[in-house]
């Protein structure tokens, strides 16, 4: 127990003071100390006393924050754990905190209010029965500082009603709240509105009153969210009439000068729109009489609200309200009238689609954000987005009339523009935006617009209005319109005929040179998207031949645009480079010697400070493509790539640039695999370093490192055995580490399979038994399906290489009768789970070798299971859109891709024939036994299949 005395108060104050110190050497010990004493009884009371009595404002706030955090950490009582706050303290806190909160200045009030809601979440209502009535009594105080404190606390207590699932417990609580709270809240609402009239000219009073109204409206939303309470149904007239009045209210005094920050009036009206939307969606039967009024009021609100940013939330909420109402069949009639539609289009939609000065600023000065918002759709709350949603909502019932009205607008805006483009260019921007929103019925990142409004002639609009801007000789004039035109091509690429796309390609190439970042970024993005379109036969829509006349210009401009200020790490451009390489294939070979230098240089620069994950990813992809495409024609050039890249790679590895290491391993694997003769010494020098545990601790390194080690084994197993035999235990250590993990065990098997396949038997004999013991231990301790599948592939591969007898001997050498157990408990029941063509083949061949009477049936099952014959997506089209950032594990390079490897290869063409031949051999060795054994142990169906294999192999059992 800590006594409540001056000395303790003094000590506490001192430590609180120290927790504010900027010097960690002072701050940390003080924080530690406070945490060490917080378990003592009376600690929270001391804190509250400091908070209440201290003369120092800073200390008071600090005590409040410390108190709130203490409550957050300790209040919840976890079953079977120590109760961290003594019961007397709990009682004392609950008895005093409401009062204390209400008598504190706002900054402290907020902290205590949070603390109350944390306590309330645990104790309310059962263990804090008088909380609500205590709060409600304060409504009568007439002191709005107190009232707002209560309302804020109530809001944080009740807001969970907005997202929790219905349950009897929750609803009982809400019922209790409604019983005590709803009536006083309603009275307060009315009284506050009356006071607003009384104090209509007193700005300070109005501010407080309106923040009360905003909080009351929020409480209304929470209390009405789960279902329509009887009380609010009975009092709907009061609430809705007042809400409606508030929506239409304007008070000059409450208008703020700030252009950005929403004022009290806006926040209140915004919440009222939400409340109305809630009722319209969930309680439409009861709300029906009020709805038309709200539609009118909200619409008037939209018509009279200005373009300033501070109104954005209000406007987008208001438009969303209309959008959700207009597509409900029973409200349809409210919008049916041609005049209404025209007026909504004219006064609500068109003005909110206009390019505002804020947009213009972003276009010029904050292009990155502009692009993300405009291109990737992170514009959920913007006016333009809301306006588009409203267009789409209206089109549900009124597509014809709406299209008609907008066509008229589009034409008149284009006419305006034509009169004086220099002044009226924004009209054309709005016209294009309108056409786009009207025409888009369905859209994806991969394909752009996939379904368009048939009433809009997109191709004609392209010819008449888009092409002009694309063709404009001065690429730097009207950048916004240029960007619009480029975006149009990109958006409607699936809807425009191929000739028009081909016409656009060289124009887009030219726009890569534009100074405006948005403009050349859009050009790069548009080209990249066009290059991924599919034409006939699943090939690219635009062929390398069609690109031939522009190839040089395209590559030149792409690389030049990377030099434009602000675009040096532009991921859209880099992605376009990757896609161009992939599309053009051999056509890029002549340019590679120059381009590889530029790419390497870029790599060197970004490796100093990797900050753009996507850019870097596409950079590595582009490198892989350069290597693959060039070496496909002439494998010898691999040396020159190594020469160009190894210095940078060395630097990356030496500086341990974590983001890039996995990429480097992948590119090295690709390079090593191209070598036809033995492994170069430069690689061997690196080999020991690849086995360092530190590298393997990063999960992102594991797949590319395994891949690289596999390449080492494939190309240099003999070299390893002869010059680095002492590293073999380390290599196996990696295997051991990997199979210990459920996440990485398959990687361990990849490595092990390569070892078994490529290392000579004598170089691994001494480790064999240990390897199997490890596998068995893992099998025993945690047998997952994935592990078992990999295990089966491995033992069958081993069997293929060393024979069934060797396999049986090693099993039984570890434990008598082990082989039979594995066959019975693992192979027979699990082998049908093995997936993948090559894996199945390995198992088939392996099992054929270890064939006994009881494995035969499982083998036929393996043959006759439906095969997984899905064909992988053509690499060129692989979209790396959502490649995760570096923090997540591993970014696989699509173009460093490894071809599937079949370790058995042509040695066995058809495993079914092998089975038939092996059986035949067996039967000739002991005539008469095999057929009778088969007919007694196999079901008829399996026998029939087997008969088919025997016939195909033209052999007969004897």
């Amino acid at each position: 127990i800590m006594e409540l005395n001056d000395r303790n108060l003094q000590t506490l104050t001192e430590y609180l003071q120290k927790t504010l110190s900027p010097d960690p050497a002072v701050r940390r010990p003080a924080e530690k100390f406070l945490e060490s004493v917080e378990g003592n009884q009376n600690y929270p009371i001391l804190l509250l006393t400091v908070l209440e009595k201290s003369q120092d404002e800073v200390i008071r706030v600090c005590a409040a924050v410390t108190f709130k955090n203490y409550i957050k950490r300790n209040w919840r009582v976890v079953e079977d754990e120590l109760n961290k706050i003594s019961d007397p303290d709990r009682t004392a806190i609950k008895a005093n905190i409401v009062n204390l909160m209400l008598s504190s200045p706002e900054q402290i009030q907020k902290q205590l209010s949070d603390a109350i809601s944390i306590i309330g979440r645990e104790d309310f209502p059962q263990k804090w029965p008088d909380l609500l009535s205590e709060m409600v009594t304060r409504f009568q105080s007439g002191d709005f500082h107190v009232i707002n404190g209560i309302l804020r606390t109530a809001h944080s207590l009740f807001k969970r009603y907005r997202h929790e699932f219905k349950s009897n417990e929750l609803w009982s609580e809400i019922k209790l709240v409604l019983d005590t709270f709803a009536q006083p809240l309603t009275e307060l609402f009315k009284a506050t509105i009356d006071l607003c009239q009384t104090h209509a000219t007193d700005i300070n009073a109005l501010k407080v009153l309106f923040s009360s109204l905003a909080l009351i409206s929020k409480l209304f939303y929470s209390l009405n969210f789960q279902d329509l309470p009887e009380f609010f149904e009975d009092n709907m007239e009061t609430w809705m009439t007042n809400f409606h009045n508030l929506l239409t209210l304007d008070n000059k005094l409450l208008q703020t000068d700030d252009e950005e920050e929403a004022g009290l009036l806006e926040l209140l009206k915004s919440q009222i729109c939400d409340n109305a939307a809630l009722y319209a969606q969930k309680y439409d039967e009861e709300f029906q009489p009020y709805l038309p009024r709200f539609v009118t009021a909200i619409w008037n609100l939209l018509v009279t609200t200005g373009q300033e940013v501070k109104y954005d939330l209000l406007v987008s909420n208001a438009i969303q309200f209309l959008a959700s109402v207009c597509e409900r069949p029973h409200y349809k009639h409210l919008f049916e009238d041609q005049n209404v539609l025209t007026s909504i289009c004219e006064k609500v939609i068109v003005p909110n689609m206009e390019f505002r000065s804020a947009d213009e600023e972003a276009f010029e000065d904050n292009s990155e954000e502009y692009i993300i918002r405009d291109l990737e759709g992170s514009d959920i709350d913007t006016r333009r987005r809301a306006a588009c949603d409203l267009v789409r909502g209206l089109c549900k019932f009124f597509e014809g009339p709406v299209t008609g009205i907008f066509s008229g607008y589009v034409n008149s805006m284009l006419t305006e523009y034509a009169k004086n483009p220099g002044v009226n260019w924004k009209h054309k921007d709005a016209a294009i935006y309108l056409v786009t929103s009207l025409a888009s019925k369905a859209q994806t990142q991969k394909h752009g617009i996939t379904q368009a409004n048939e009433l809009v002639n997109l191709s004609e609009f392209f010819v008449n209005h888009i092409l002009v801007d694309l063709k404009s000789p001065n690429v730097n004039e009207f950048p916004v319109l240029k960007a619009d035109a480029i975006k149009y091509v990109m958006t409607f690429r699936s809807q425009l005929p191929k000739e028009q796309l081909l016409e656009a390609v060289p124009l887009l190439v030219a726009h890569l040179q534009a100074e405006s970042i948005v403009q050349h970024t859009y050009a790069a993005h548009a080209l990249e998207r066009l290059f991924t379109m599919r034409g006939a036969n699943n090939a690219t829509l635009i062929t390398p031949t069609e690109m031939a006349p522009f190839t040089e210009q395209l590559l030149n401009n792409l690389f030049k645009s990377l030099a434009i200020p602000g675009s040096s790490e532009n991921e859209y451009i880099m992605k376009a480079i990757m896609r161009s390489f992939s599309l053009l294939q051999e056509a890029i070979v002549p340019y590679i010697p120059t381009l590889i230098g530029q790419l390497t240089h870029k790599l060197l620069l970004v490796s100093k400070n990797p900050s753009k994950p996507h850019f870097n990813h596409y950079l590595f992809e582009s490198l892989c493509l350069s290597i693959r495409i060039t070496c496909k024609a002439s494998p010898d050039t691999v040396d020159s790539f190594e020469e160009a890249l190894f210095p940078v790679f060395t630097e990356i590895l030496q500086n341990d640039v974590q983001e890039f290491v996995p990429y480097v391993f992948q590119v090295m694997s690709l390079l090593l695999e191209i070598h036809t003769s033995s492994i170069p010494s430069s690689y061997m020098a690196l080999f020991p370093h690849l086995l360092q545990p530190a590298l393997w601790e990063r999960t992102g390194n594991i797949p590319p490192l395994v891949r690289l080690l596999q390449a080492y084994l494939e190309k240099g197993a003999t070299t390893i055995a002869s010059t680095a035999a002492d590293k073999i235990p380390g290599l196996l250590g990696v295997f051991q580490k990997l199979i210990a993990s459920k996440a990485n065990d398959h990687q361990g098997f990849y490595l092990l399979n390569s070892i078994v396949e490529h290392m000579s038997p004598d170089s691994i004999t001494q480790y064999r038994k240990q390897i199997f013991i490890l596998l068995f231990q893992r099998l025993q301790s945690s047998k997952t399906t994935k592990f078992v599948k990999s295990f089966l592939v491995f033992i069958n591969l081993y069997c293929v290489k060393y024979g069934a007898i060797a396999l049986q001997e090693i099993f039984d050498g570890i434990q008598p009768k082990m082989f039979g157990m594995v066959v019975e408990k693992i192979i027979i029941p699990e082998v049908q789970k093995v997936s993948g063509q090559v894996e199945k083949k390995i198992c088939a061949v392996g099992i054929t070798k270890i064939l006994t009477e009881y494995t035969l049936q499982a083998l036929i099952g393996l043959f006759e299971l439906p095969e997984d014959d899905s064909i992988p997506d053509d690499e060129h089209f692989i979209d790396i859109e959502d490649t995760p950032g570096y923090q997540t594990a591993f970014s696989q390079l699509a173009f460093a891709g490894k071809k599937e490897h079949d370790p058995i290869g042509d040695a066995v063409g058809n495993p079914k024939i092998l089975l038939a031949q092996s059986l035949h051999k067996l039967s000739t060795a002991c005539p008469g036994r095999v057929p009778s054994m088969l007919s007694t142990s196999l079901p008829a169906e399996a026998l029939q299949f087997l008969q088919g294999y025997l016939q195909a192999a033209t052999v007969q059992l004897v």
Binding site: F165, W171, Q281, K282, Q692, P729, G730, L774
Partner: protein, 519 residues
């Protein structure tokens, strides 16, 4: 993710989907806490007051809220009723009845506190004075129509045996009054209901159920029977149900709409229970008639008939099949398109329970053309209806075959539920995410995941699912996140054994623990 959702309470209440076989149906009982006003159309009144007949002149006291006036009137009544003069007794009783028949605030409590009930009950036995019997019965009926406390007063004054005796009265209006009073008492709850049954109310009532009974009388009788079937915890016992059922079935064939309505309500109460209770009803062979009643014009008949059918299809698969065989699936489409949203909602609820059945029953939903109206409800129904329709989709997609799921998607259900992800109801959102997950599982089996991803994105579903990753509700945001991670991101530590390591190498070698391997 799906398992988490499946463990949800309501899910376990759907037949077949839940883990506990005993709790496999969608019960309404679980939702005892209500925030809403009691539903007006949805159910009939538990208790009914008898208002004054219009042409009777009312004294000023009968219609005033003035405490003074009322109190004086009551004093007068007490004096009259406690006296010995039959004329005065009749007058007093009549005055009390008039007071108690006011539409607004009848002074039930005041009458009770004036100690009048003892006398009224006594008057019920006055076979010599039918008028007095009648007035007393009427007064007591109205007192019993009040709150539970009011009803309790009537019962505790011994009115039950007296009323049961009165059922046999040769005066039809007195017998009818007794029927009504007993209905009010039965409607109070299971304990008085069972008390009445113990006193032999059922045979006494059924004895009056004759072909020549006037329609008005039969209406009251049916209503009282329905109240005897009503309420659970506990349900009325089987023997009582067996006694009443033949008569209720008989009444279901009557031509009077009000009788039909109450008889249907009785059936709906009897089917709102465990499967054994539903079985008793099905065995009477009433299903075809119930289905026929679904086609009636009158909302008062359709509502309870639909409720009964809804209850039955929430039973076992066999019981659902019995309803299907009786033709319920051809009746449902028009109910799903009914102008009243409450009917649409009940119909969607029934469909959601049929969709929770085996895939053969789901196939019948398809064959009978229920998917089009279902999708229509998802798009255009009111919110409560949409919510039921969403459950139907989720049940359908979790029990349906791959082909059936594909068919549902082709009918437009996916787009419709994706739109509803904006619903302001957390549970609905979660249930939709579950359905989306089911649809993806089907797509996986077909190798069509990419196609489905595009479809979801095209109709704006991806944006909404992504948005839900910020949802305040943990279950919702986890479900949304799981979908995004599994299907919409390009890619997809736990050591089981230990491995020693030095700076340069991992140490290879198995630990020497000689443990037997046994797989």
């Amino acid at each position: 993710m799906p398992t988490e959702n499946l463990s949800d309470k309501r899910m376990s209440k759907f037949k077949n989907k839940g883990k506990e076989p005993m709790k496999m149906r969608d019960r309404r009982i679980a939702e005892c806490v209500e925030l809403r006003k009691a539903h007006k159309v949805e159910s009939i009144m538990k208790k009914r007051n008898i208002s004054s007949v219009g042409d009777e002149p009312l004294s000023p006291a009968d219609n005033t809220d003035n405490k003074q006036v009322i109190s004086e009137t009551i004093q007068e009544i007490v004096a009259n009723v406690n006296g010995d003069c039959p004329e005065k007794q009749r007058q007093g009783c009549q005055a009390a009845r008039k007071l108690l028949s006011r539409e607004r605030n009848p002074p039930l409590k005041e009458i009770i506190e004036a100690g009048l009930l003892t006398r009224f009950v006594e008057f019920l036995g006055r076979n010599d004075d039918p008028t007095l019997q009648f007035e007393a019965a009427w007064s007591l009926t109205n007192v019993a129509s009040g709150t539970s406390w009011h009803t309790q007063q009537v019962v505790e004054h011994g009115a039950v045996p007296a009323f049961i005796a009165l059922l046999a009265s040769p005066m039809l209006n007195i017998s009818e009054q007794a029927v009504w009073a007993l209905g009010n008492i039965a409607g109070d709850g299971p304990s008085y209901r069972d008390g009445l049954i113990d006193c032999g109310v059922i045979p006494a009532l059924l004895a009056r159920l004759t072909p020549d009974a006037p329609v008005g009388y039969l209406r009251n009788l049916t209503w009282t029977l329905s109240n005897l079937c009503r309420n659970k915890n506990p349900f009325p016992r089987f023997s009582a149900v067996q006694q009443m059922l033949p008569s209720i079935i008989q009444l279901l064939h009557h031509s009077d709409k009000s009788i039909l309505s109450d008889a249907c309500w009785a059936v709906s109460y009897l089917t709102d229970g465990p499967n054994e209770r539903i079985d008793v009803v099905i065995k009477t062979g009433i299903l075809p008639r119930l289905v026929e009643l679904l086609g009636f014009e009158e909302l008062t008949v359709v509502t309870p008939a639909l409720r009964s059918i809804g209850n039955i299809v929430s039973g076992s698969d066999l019981q659902t099949q019995a309803a299907i065989d009786a033709g319920v699936l051809s009746a449902l489409p028009q109910l799903m398109r009914h102008p009243k949203s409450s009917v649409q909602k009940e119909a969607a609820w029934a469909v959601s329970n049929i969709a929770a059945g085996p895939c053969q029953q789901i196939q019948q939903l398809i064959t009978c053309g229920l998917l089009a109206p279902l999708v229509d409800l998802l798009r255009n129904g009111d919110f409560k209806t949409q919510r039921e329709a969403v459950w139907a989709v989720t049940n359908y997609t979790s029990g349906g075959t791959v082909d059936q799921v594909v068919h549902l998607v082709k009918c437009g259900a996916l787009e419709a539920i994706l739109n509803l992800l904006q619903a302001k109801d957390t549970k609905t959102v979660l249930v939709i995410l579950d359905a989306i997950n089911n649809i993806f599982l089907a797509a996986e089996k077909l190798g069509e995941v990419d196609k489905l991803c595009l479809l979801v994105e095209e109709v704006g579903g991806l944006d909404r699912i992504e948005f839900l990753q910020n949802h305040e509700n943990n279950a919702v945001y986890r479900a949304a996140q799981a979908l995004i991670e599994k299907y919409f991101s390009e890619d997809g530590d736990d050591q089981c054994l230990t491995t020693e390591a030095t700076d340069s190498n991992f140490v290879f070698g198995a630990s020497d623990l000689q443990k037997r391997f046994d797989f």
